[in-house]
């Protein structure tokens, strides 16, 4: 283990609609577009700038689209590459990915998770296809892919058991992640790959032009109001109120944070009572997406009890 104590420099709520990669037209993605969803992509530009400024050793991402039944899995091979096709939106996302993994940190997260009493597994198969949620969030934060990554799966305990059990697991995973970071001496950025409200259109509004922005809008006013309420609580640093409302939010707005990525990140950051910075909010086929940042360099993180 490292002599220098590692730290979390910052965290991002980094939603993963593949439409955002499709709209950008990076060389890695096969389908090409005329653009679209610019306000969200501009929000990610601010995150990219921040990451360039911070120069982290590693970016960690927790994605609900790598769903595991038996415990929390962590990518633990030196390199992963291949073609990742989104099973839901294959016409929008067929991405040639290549990422270097911080294997030491990954193994440390597995070890610390076991110390926390939760089931955890290293993913050591080099042929593993990385899910589109992980790739989308990472691409949007760092399109150069020049920073090693660690990806964590979303254990489906919030769905298999119940919200409380599931979120408790994520809190433990967050604690384990923080200890692993500290012990390995890494300076890291975390990414919670979650959309907020998640009810969406049942069919593409314009199949001939998926990036037709005249068709993009919130799924419902109620869903929009839920998003605004929760974003405002995060912007004001009112985490206690956010946590209190979270189960209702998940139920009524079908919020994707139920999958645990945000809870994992907040736990790893010791539930910081610092205001989060909103870089942008926008809808993608009706879902509500907020790109938000927690700057932990101020040293105002909370404490685990």
């Amino acid at each position: 283990m490292s002599q220098n104590k590692g730290q979390i420099i910052g965290g991002f709520l980094a939603p993963h609609p593949p439409h955002l990669v499709y709209g950008e037209n990076p060389p890695q993605n096969e389908p090409k577009s005329r653009g679209g969803w610019e306000p969200l992509r501009w929000a990610y530009e601010a995150c990219r700038e921040k990451i360039r400024e911070w120069k982290p050793d590693v970016i960690l991402v927790h994605s609900p689209h790598w769903q595991t039944v038996v415990g929390h899995h962590v990518t633990a091979v030196p390199k992963l590459s291949g073609l990742s096709v989104d099973p839901i939106f294959p016409h929008l996302f067929r991405y040639n990915f290549s990422m270097n993994v911080d294997q030491t940190l990954a193994e440390a997260i597995v070890d610390e998770s076991r110390t926390e009493g939760i089931t955890s597994k290293p993913m050591r198969n080099p042929n593993f296809r990385v899910d589109y949620g992980t790739i989308t969030s990472l691409h949007l934060l760092n399109p150069d892919w020049d920073i090693p990554v660690v990806a964590l799966s979303a254990n489906n305990s919030p769905y298999f058991y119940d919200d409380r059990t599931g979120q408790e697991e994520m809190v433990k995973l967050g604690r384990a992640t923080l200890r692993a970071i500290e012990k390995t001496g890494r300076r890291v950025v975390l990414a919670a790959s979650n959309t907020l409200s998640h009810l969406h259109f049942a069919a593409e509004p314009n199949p001939m032009l998926p990036e037709d922005m005249t068709k993009e809008h919130v799924h419902s006013q109620a869903q929009y109001e839920w998003d605004v309420k929760m974003i405002n609580l995060l912007r004001q640093g009112k985490l206690d109120e956010f946590m209190e409302l979270m189960p209702q939010f998940c139920k009524e707005a079908f919020a994707e944070i139920k999958a645990g990525s945000l809870m994992w990140m907040l736990s790893a950051m010791n539930f910081p009572k610092v205001p989060a910075k909103l870089h942008g909010y926008g809808t993608v086929i009706g879902t509500g997406n907020a790109v938000m940042e927690w700057d932990m360099t101020s040293g105002k993180g909370g404490q685990h009890v």
Binding site: V69, V70, P87, P90, H91, R94, D131, F160, A202, A203
Partner: protein, 273 residues
């Protein structure tokens, strides 16, 4: 004998990757053997094509149909990545995929064709095809639309039956789905695998008994209770799809194997259409 000229065989099989490791558990081996033997059963009935409906292939924006004629690749299961790499090679009947989509569209379903290199074929379809087909026949795949309820899925099955009937190729329909899905959520010794809850096992057996006797109405009637008690796979949409496939018929079934797969229940069922 089915009153459909071209519907030659119907089966219900599980699709977890453990089945491909028969050496790890006697129950896995029984399921593996039964699925392999399904090929001979299909061959005896003159099957020339296999249509898969897997609850592992989820679609959100309507119902999808695989239409890439040559589909090859390597799949690694997202949960059990340490068990095995799963190479696959499908010869897809692309023209029939279009006919199925047209039939579904005619019945009011939103449809999409899937014709992409690297498309992530689900573990269940790969496992089933590896054991049953082994590259022998052309295949087709239809997705399980998450927002289709039991009635809509039944209607989709009926549309597929009509497409099979009109197309003229002797076809087997295979639903890939577990029964109860209460997984063990911690590491277990695979040689000690068991149905996780006694009640789940009882429900699985009760359900299979209905299929054995050809009591399809009773099987369908018990779905709400089964779902409440034993978390069956995707609300037993496989039953809905197969009811649509068999239409008004009430064939008896043979349970070729039944056992535990990481706490869940899996059965190899030969529906004697």
């Amino acid at each position: 004998m089915s009153n459909s000229k071209n519907l030659r065989a119907v089966a219900w099989v599980p699709g977890l990757p453990h089945i491909l490791s028969p050496e790890k558990n006697a129950g896995y081996k029984a399921i593996n053997d039964s699925m392999r033997q399904m090929q001979m059963r299909f061959a005896d009935r003159g099957v020339e094509r296999v249509l898969y409906y897997s609850t592992g292939w989820l679609s959100v924006l309507g119902t999808s149909f695989q239409s890439k004629a040559e589909l090859k690749g390597m799949h690694v299961d997202e949960n059990w990545h340490e068990l095995a790499d799963l190479p696959f090679s499908f010869k897809v009947d692309a023209p029939f995929a279009n006919k199925m989509a047209a039939a579904a569209g005619k019945s009011g379903f939103a449809t999409a064709m899937v014709d992409y290199n690297g498309f992530p074929v689900d573990t269940g379809t790969i496992v089933a095809d590896t054991l049953i087909n082994q590259g022998r026949w052309r295949v087709n795949m239809v997705s399980s639309h998450v927002y289709s309820d039991f009635a809509a899925t039944k209607k989709l099955g009926a549309a597929m039956r009509e497409a099979i009937e009109l197309d003229g190729v002797p076809t087997a329909v295979v639903a890939v789905s577990l029964l109860s899905t209460r997984y063990f959520t911690q590491d277990i010794k695979l040689n000690e695998d068991a149905i996780r809850e006694k009640g789940d096992d009882q429900w699985n057996r009760r359900f299979l008994e209905h299929l054995t006797k050809g009591e399809w109405d009773l099987a369908e009637k018990c779905v709400p209770q089964f779902c409440e008690a034993a978390m069956p796979d995707m609300g037993l949409k496989a039953l809905a799809f197969l009811r649509g496939i068999i239409g008004s018929e009430t064939p008896k079934s043979e349970i070729c194997a039944y056992g535990a797969l990481y706490g869940t229940g899996g059965a190899v069922v030969d529906v004697r259409v």
